[in-house]
C-alpha cells in the first residue's frame, strides 16, 4: 500500500517535530512547514493525503489556511491541532467542514487516532477524489 503523505503546518518547532516523529514512526510520509504561506506553496507543488495544521500562527493563520485549502483541494482531510481550542473556535472550524480536533498537548495515541479517523474518510489508496 502506498504510504500516506501528511503535511504538518505549525510555527512551533517542538510541536512540529513531535508530529513528524510520531507519524514517521507509524509509517507516514511527513512534510513539515512552519507557516501557512509555506503550506500553500507546498500544496501548489504536490498533493497530500492529510493536512495537519495549527491555528494560531504568525502571518497566515490556521483558519485562513483551511479556507484556502478548501479552494485548492477540497477533499483533503484536515486535522486541527491547537493549544487554544475554545467553543467559538470549534464552531468556526466546524463551519469550514473540519471534523477532527486534537488539543495540545496530545498523546501519540490521540494523534494517531485522529489521523486514522480523518484518513478513513478518504479512499484506501489515499488519492484525492478531486485530483
Amino acid at each position: 500500500m502506498k504510504r500516506r503523505n501528511v503535511l504538518v503546518v505549525d510555527d512551533e518547532p517542538v510541536s512540529r517535530r513531535s508530529c513528524e516523529k510520531v507519524l514517521i514512526r507509524h509509517g507516514y510520509d511527513v512534510i513539515t512547514v512552519n507557516s501557512g504561506q509555506q503550506a500553500l506553496d507546498r500544496l501548489a507543488e504536490e498533493g497530500f493525503d492529510l493536512i495537519i495544521t495549527d491555528l494560531k500562527m504568525a502571518g497566515l493563520g490556521g483558519m485562513q489556511l483551511i479556507e484556502r485549502i478548501k479552494g485548492i483541494c477540497p477533499r483533503t482531510p484536515i486535522v486541527v491541532i491547537s493549544g487554544y481550542i475554545t467553543r467559538d473556535i470549534i464552531a468556526e472550524v466546524l463551519g469550514q467542514g473540519v471534523k477532527t480536533f486534537v488539543p495540545k498537548p496530545f498523546t501519540t495515541d490521540e494523534l494517531l487516532s485522529a489521523v486514522g479517523k480523518a484518513l478513513g474518510a478518504t479512499r484506501p489508496d489515499g488519492s484525492d477524489e478531486a485530483s
Binding site: S15, R17, V22, G83, Y84, R87, D88, P105
Partner: protein, 541 residues
C-alpha cells in the same frame, strides 16, 4: 403642674361658673328682696295711714258733741280713752296758736309748739298757710325721742256753722281752721317686722346661694371637672406615647361625647402608631436584607473579578506551555515505546509521561476556567439536566455505594442555561461529594422554585467529612485543593459558570457531618421565553 393648679384656682372653669351663678343669684335674690320689702313696707304704711284716718275720724266724731257744747272735760276724757288704745302713741288737739288744748299725755296740755314743728310743717311751710290737705300730706313719719319711728297724722278742725252760731262760742265766722287734731302711732312693731322680713330674706338669699353653689359645684365636679381632669391626664399620657389609655365614659352629655371621641382618637392613634412601627420594622428588615444582598453581591463580584484576573493569567501561561508539553509528552511516549519494560529507564519515562498528562489536566482545567466565549443558553427545565448528570454518574464505580435521594419539584419554571455547562457544575459538585464521603454515604438532591427570590434552587448535600470553617471562603478560589490529584479548578469553574448564568452558588458545611452546595438560578423571563422555548425545545429533544 400641681402648684400651678393651686395658684391659678381662680382661673378655673369651675370657679368662674360658680362665681357667675352666685353673682346672678345674689343680684336676683337681692333685687327681688328689695322690691318685696319696699312693697311690704308701703303696704304696712298705707295700712297704718288708713288706721290713723279711722282713728282721727273716730276722735273727731266722739268729741264733736262735747266740743260744740264746749264740754272740755268730756273731750279730754274721750281723747285720753282713745289714746290709751294699743297702737296709738298720742292723741292731741292744737288750737290755732299751736297750744295743745287736749292730749292723751297729760304733760303735753298747755304746751305750745312751734309752727315749724313736724306736726305743723305741712301747712305752715308755704308763705300762705294751707287750709286743705290731702291724706298723704297729712301724714308724717319722724323719730321719737326713744329712738323708734312714729307716724303722725293731722286732721284740721274746720270752723263749721255749728261752731260759730251758738252763743256760747267765741269762734269768729271768718276763721277757717279752728285747730288741728294730731294722732301719732308708733312704727316700732312694723319696723321690727320689716327688719325680721329683711333678715329672713337675706338668710334665704344666702342659703340659696350656698345651696346653689354647692349643687352646682357638685354637678360641675362630677360632670365637668373630673372628666376634664381625666381627659387632661389621658392627653398627657397620649402625648408621652402611651396609647393604651382609655377614659371611662358614661352618660350622653357633651363631655361624654368628647370622651368617646378621645377614646376613638386614641384607638386610631394606637393603630396608626402600630402600623407605623410595623412599617419602620419592615423597612429596617428590607434595608438589612438589601444590605446583606449588596454585600453578598459585592463579595461575589470581588471574587469573580479576582478569579477572572487569575484565570486570564493562568490561561496565558497554559497556552504558552502547551507546545513544549506536546514535545515532552510525545517524546516521552516514543522513548517509552522504545524502552523495554525491564529497563531501569522505563519507570522514569513513565513518570515523565504521567506527570505531563497531569500537567495537561491542570492546563485544560485552567482553560475551561478562563473560557472567554459566551455560554450557549437555552430555555429549559433544570430537572432533566440533573437527571442526565445522575444517569451518567450512577454507572460509575465511585457511586455504587452511595444512596441517592432526590426531591425534585415538578413543573418548575424554566431557566435560561447552557445545559453542558450546568451539567459540568453538577458533575463537579457530585464527584467532590463522592470523594468527601469516601464513596459511601447518602447524597440528597433537592430542587424547587423559590417565589420570593424568583429563582430555581438546587441543593446538593452529602454526608461526607465536611469542610473546616476556615477553608470555606477559599473553596471557590482557583487552584485551591485538598485532594492529592486535584487541580483546584472544579469549584472555581463551577462558580464562574453559575456567575455567568446570573446565579449564585453557596456552601454550608459542618466538619464530620457533611456539606451542602446551593445553586440558585434566575427564572427565565417571559421576554426570553418565546424564541428560547423553540430553540430549547429543539435542542433538548
Amino acid at each position: 403642674m400641681a402648684s400651678g393648679d393651686v395658684s391659678m384656682w381662680y382661673k378655673s372653669l369651675s370657679f368662674k361658673l360658680i362665681f357667675s351663678v352666685c353673682m346672678i343669684t345674689l343680684f336676683v335674690v337681692g333685687f327681688s328682696t328689695t322690691i318685696t320689702l319696699n312693697a311690704q313696707r308701703a303696704d304696712l304704711i298705707r295700712e297704718i295711714v288708713r288706721a290713723s284716718t279711722r282713728i282721727t275720724d273716730t276722735v273727731r266724731g266722739s268729741t264733736r258733741y262735747a266740743m260744740l257744747k264746749d264740754d272740755r272735760e268730756s273731750v279730754h276724757r274721750s281723747i285720753v280713752a282713745i289714746g290709751a288704745q294699743p297702737g296709738i302713741e298720742k292723741v292731741r288737739v292744737f288750737n290755732k296758736e299751736g297750744e295743745i288744748m287736749f292730749s292723751s299725755d297729760a304733760e303735753d296740755i298747755g304746751r305750745r309748739v312751734d309752727k315749724t314743728a313736724e306736726a305743723c310743717y305741712a301747712c305752715h311751710a308755704p308763705e300762705k298757710p294751707l287750709e286743705k290737705l290731702d291724706t298723704p300730706e297729712r301724714t308724717r313719719i319722724f323719730q321719737a325721742k326713744e329712738g323708734y319711728r312714729v307716724l303722725g297724722m293731722i286732721n284740721p278742725i274746720y270752723n263749721e256753722p255749728d261752731c260759730y252760731t251758738p252763743a256760747c262760742h267765741a269762734h269768729p265766722k271768718e276763721q277757717k281752721v279752728l285747730g288741728v287734731l294730731d294722732v301719732t302711732m308708733p312704727l316700732e312693731e312694723i319696723d321690727r317686722e320689716i327688719a325680721d322680713r329683711r333678715r329672713e330674706l337675706i338668710i334665704f338669699a344666702v342659703a340659696s346661694i350656698l345651696l346653689l353653689s354647692t349643687i352646682l359645684g357638685l354637678v360641675l365636679m362630677r360632670s365637668v371637672y373630673r372628666p376634664l381632669k381625666e381627659l387632661l391626664t389621658a392627653t398627657e399620657r397620649v402625648a408621652a406615647g402611651d396609647f393604651d389609655v382609655e377614659i371611662h365614659v358614661s352618660g350622653s352629655d357633651e363631655i361624654s361625647t368628647l370622651g368617646r371621641s378621645f377614646n376613638k382618637m386614641t384607638g386610631d392613634l394606637k393603630v396608626a402608631s402600630r402600623e407605623l412601627k410595623q412599617w419602620g420594622k419592615t423597612l429596617e428588615q428590607r434595608v438589612e436584607e438589601k444590605t446583606a444582598e449588596l454585600q453578598r453581591t459585592q463579595r461575589q463580584l470581588f471574587h469573580a473579578e479576582r478569579m477572572a484576573s487569575i484565570g486570564k493569567l493562568a490561561a496565558g501561561i497554559a497556552h504558552e506551555i502547551n507546545n513544549p508539553l506536546t514535545g515532552v509528552l510525545t517524546s516521552g511516549q516514543l522513548l517509552l515505546d522504545d524502552c523495554p519494560p525491564d529497563s531501569p529507564d522505563h519507570e522514569d519515562l513513565e513518570t515523565i509521561v504521567n506527570e505531563t498528562l497531569r500537567c495537561r489536566r491542570i492546563i485544560r482545567g485552567v482553560l475551561d476556567f478562563a473560557r472567554q466565549s459566551a455560554p450557549e443558553k437555552r430555555r429549559m427545565r433544570i430537572s432533566p439536566v440533573i437527571a442526565t448528570t445522575l444517569a451518567f454518574l450512577e454507572h460509575q464505580a465511585s457511586f455504587h455505594n452511595i444512596e441517592i435521594i432526590q426531591d425534585i419539584q415538578e413543573d418548575m419554571p424554566h431557566v435560561l442555561i447552557d445545559k453542558d455547562l450546568i451539567q459540568q457544575v453538577f458533575t463537579n459538585i457530585l464527584v467532590n461529594a463522592s470523594e468527601a464521603m469516601k464513596e459511601v454515604g447518602t447524597l440528597t438532591i433537592t430542587a424547587d422554585y423559590r417565589p420570593e427570590s424568583d429563582q430555581v434552587r438546587v441543593c446538593i448535600s452529602d454526608t461526607g467529612c465536611g469542610i473546616p470553617e476556615e477553608d470555606l471562603p477559599k473553596i471557590f478560589d482557583p487552584f485551591y485543593t485538598k485532594k492529592e490529584m486535584g487541580t483546584g479548578l472544579g469549584l472555581a469553574i463551577s462558580y464562574g459558570i453559575i456567575a455567568e448564568h446570573g446565579g449564585t452558588i453557596d456552601v454550608q458545611s459542618e466538619p464530620g457531618k457533611g456539606t451542602t452546595f446551593t445553586i440558585s438560578l434566575p427564572r427565565a423571563s417571559e421576554k426570553e421565553t418565546a424564541p428560547a422555548e423553540r430553540e430549547g425545545g429543539e435542542k433538548s429533544t
